[in-house]
């Protein structure tokens, strides 16, 4: 006979009460596990799908500049001492301390050209990198397509050096279609394809191969800007920006507030809501444990009196009550882990409003059991002390 056996036998005897206690703990732990797993999955998903959200760091050549205002009216901006970004800068960006968090680096050169006799903006890009980073760019028309064939995925297509891509607005302005020819700065190019309308400035742009555009604009090896898609689960993008600025004295990196960051904010809000909800549910679970253990102690007054009379110390009585709480909490923690994971897996995508797949989060087993044990033991301290302080004479109605 041992204290553990006494606790275990009592649990077996009071099945309904202990089931109630178990449900309280399972709900508490499952809520925490489910919310934690969903938030974790959302963060990982966000990292994995960064390219869907475009760049979040933009690097421009460093320059000194000032705005000219006269009488409150903006007249012009004056830039001087403009430095340039070059091929040599690209490896430096990869080598920053948080370089592993950088997903895509897409350099580009922008310049004004005359296309079919009209002014136009030509953007030289590494097409695969650029369009992987911006998956919302899609082809409306594509040259040399067989009948019934659909335009390809831009991020996978090789665009020939003698071809250009036109935004829908530019195609309309120049009156050209896919497969036709367009003259840019006296050089003829084939229109590889026309992009779907985005309803943004990009609709008016002409896109070409970066090397070709550098040659056409007479700026070989130079970039107007470098866009970087970076995502780090555990470090803020501002940290990456600071590191880039350290390695590129000729560049000015800026964090962009765009989709990824907004999504991150949404996750942060969901996470805060999850913490608040978990707190409330855990508090309720603790109250369930407290009331259940208190009523259990009240029911066992006489029994505790017997223990005390036959030589159990107060400490032994505390041990019995806390051991019972601990035993239930181990089962509650494990069950809560399973239920929480099941809930996260089935309800996760709906709750997160995101196509997330929540994996079985086995590293949560130990924290789940510890959470349940901590909660259960903490909430049982008062009932245990109350039991230990019971007057054995009154408990046995000796008087």
């Amino acid at each position: 006979m041992s204290i553990i056996q006494i606790a275990l036998n009592n649990l077996k005897r009071r099945k309904t009460r202990m089931a109630f206690l178990l449900v309280g703990l399972v709900v508490g732990v499952a809520t925490v596990v489910a919310l934690f797993s969903i938030v974790q999955a959302m963060r990982l998903e966000l990292g994995d799908r960064l390219d869907e959200f475009g760049a979040n760091v933009i690097i421009t050549p460093r320059s000194e500049g000032m705005e000219l205002n006269y009488g409150g009216t903006h007249v012009s901006e004056v830039s001087f001492n403009v430095q340039s970004l070059t091929e040599d800068d690209l490896p430096k960006i990869r080598e920053i301390p948080d370089g592993d968090s950088i997903n895509i680096i897409s350099p580009k050169l922008v310049g004004a050209v005359i296309a079919n006799g009209q002014n136009a903006l030509l953007v030289g890009v590494d097409t695969k990198r650029e369009f992987t980073m911006k998956p919302w760019f899609t082809l409306q028309e594509q040259t040399d397509l067989a009948y019934g064939q659909k335009p390809g995925d831009l991020s996978l297509l090789d665009i020939p050096k003698d071809s250009l891509l036109l935004g829908s607005g530019a195609a309309r302005a120049f009156g050209v279609q896919a497969g036709e020819t367009i003259t840019v700065n006296s050089r003829k190019f084939k229109v590889f394809g026309v992009l779907n309308e985005l309803g943004a400035e990009e609709d008016g742009l002409v896109y070409g191969n970066l090397l070709v555009v550098q040659g056409l604009l007479g700026r070989p090896g130079e970039f107007s800007l470098i866009e970087v898609a970076a995502y780090c689960n555990f470090c803020p993008v501002e940290e990456i920006v600071a590191q880039i600025n350290d390695v590129l004295p000729n560049g000015q990196a800026t964090a962009l507030r765009q989709a990824a960051l907004i999504r991150e904010e949404t996750i942060d809000r969901f996470s805060s809501f999850g913490i608040a909800l978990s707190g409330v549910v855990l508090l309720i679970a603790a109250l369930v444990v407290l009331t259940t253990m208190l009523s259990s102690v009240n029911e066992r007054t006489r029994e505790i009196g017997i223990f005390r009379a036959i030589g159990f110390r107060q400490l032994h009585v505390v041990q019995i009550i806390l051991l019972e709480a601990m035993m239930v909490s181990v089962v509650g923690g494990l069950t809560g882990f399973i239920v929480g994971n099941a809930v996260a897996r089935s309800a996760g995508p709906f709750l997160a409003q995101m196509n997330v797949s929540v994996p079985w989060n086995t590293e949560m087993i130990l924290p789940s059991v510890m959470l349940a044990a901590g909660l259960s033991v903490t909430a049982s301290i008062y009932p245990a002390l109350k039991a230990a302080r019971l007057d054995p004479v009154e408990a046995l109605r000796f008087i």
Binding site: I3, I6, I310, L315, V393, F398
Partner: protein, 238 residues
């Protein structure tokens, strides 16, 4: 029988209830020797159960002093008193007071729970005393699977399993029929003849027949302390 086991000196106990004070013991002094069997008789409210609880180290007196085997009981801390009870006392309560979810064997092993004996030794000790009280075939039964007499035997086995020098029994036959009550009293007599000191509270005069000495109480005082039973009606509190 010359060595004093229990020495009570001017024990008083006052209970406070809703502002009123009730004097349950009004200065009780007595000595009980090793190997004695003593019955404490008295009507309800005479203070006999209070006296038993004070001797049992469960109920500090309001005044006075009690020594068992030379140990000033209430000079000990509460936890030390618990250790004392485990080593020196065996309780037989009213209505058996067995733990309902433990078998006879487990109930008997309870006082050994907090000792350093091995599990095997605890089991052997429990088996021995259960056999001693005549329950060799019923060790694994739960209390609700046993008769009143059998439960009382389990309660007695639990009281003697840790081999205490003193057994305190509170109305041990109160819940039993006459025949079973007599059997239990015989068992107490046997235990006493083996050297155990027994102090038993009872208001059944028949139980005193097998006891060596009877103390009568009335209104919180001793009114007779002798080998023969004094009719309570004739008892004048001292």
């Amino acid at each position: 029988m010359t060595e004093v086991l229990i020495k009570a000196d001017s024990l008083k106990k006052i209970y406070k209830s809703f502002g009123d004070e009730v004097e349950a013991l009004r200065g009780v002094s007595l000595e009980i020797y090793k190997g004695e069997s003593v019955a404490v008789m008295g009507h309800s409210g005479s203070g006999k159960s209070t006296l038993l609880s004070i001797i049992g180290g469960l109920n500090p007196p309001s005044a006075g002093r009690i020594e068992i085997d030379g140990i000033d009981l209430y000079a000990l801390s509460q936890e030390k008193r618990a250790d004392f009870r485990r080593e020196y006392l065996g309780f037989v309560f009213q209505q058996f007071q067995l733990i309902p979810y433990l078998t006879a064997m487990e109930n008997v092993m309870l006082p050994l729970t907090t000792t350093s004996y091995s599990a095997k030794r605890k089991r052997e000790m429990a088996e021995y005393v259960l056999t001693r009280v005549g329950l060799e075939g019923k060790m694994n039964r739960l209390p609700n699977q046993m008769s009143g007499g059998e439960q009382e035997r389990v309660a007695i086995a639990r009281a003697i399993v840790n081999e205490p020098p003193l057994i305190l029994a509170d109305e041990p036959t109160g819940s039993l029929d006459t025949k079973t009550g007599q059997e239990i009293m015989e068992l107490f007599h046997e235990l006493n003849s083996e050297g155990l000191t027994i102090l038993m509270v009872t208001h059944n005069p028949e139980n005193t027949a097998s006891m060596g000495r009877t103390i009568s109480m009335k209104d919180g005082r001793l009114c007779a302390d002798q080998a023969e039973v004094v009719p309570l009606a004739a008892c004048k509190a001292r």
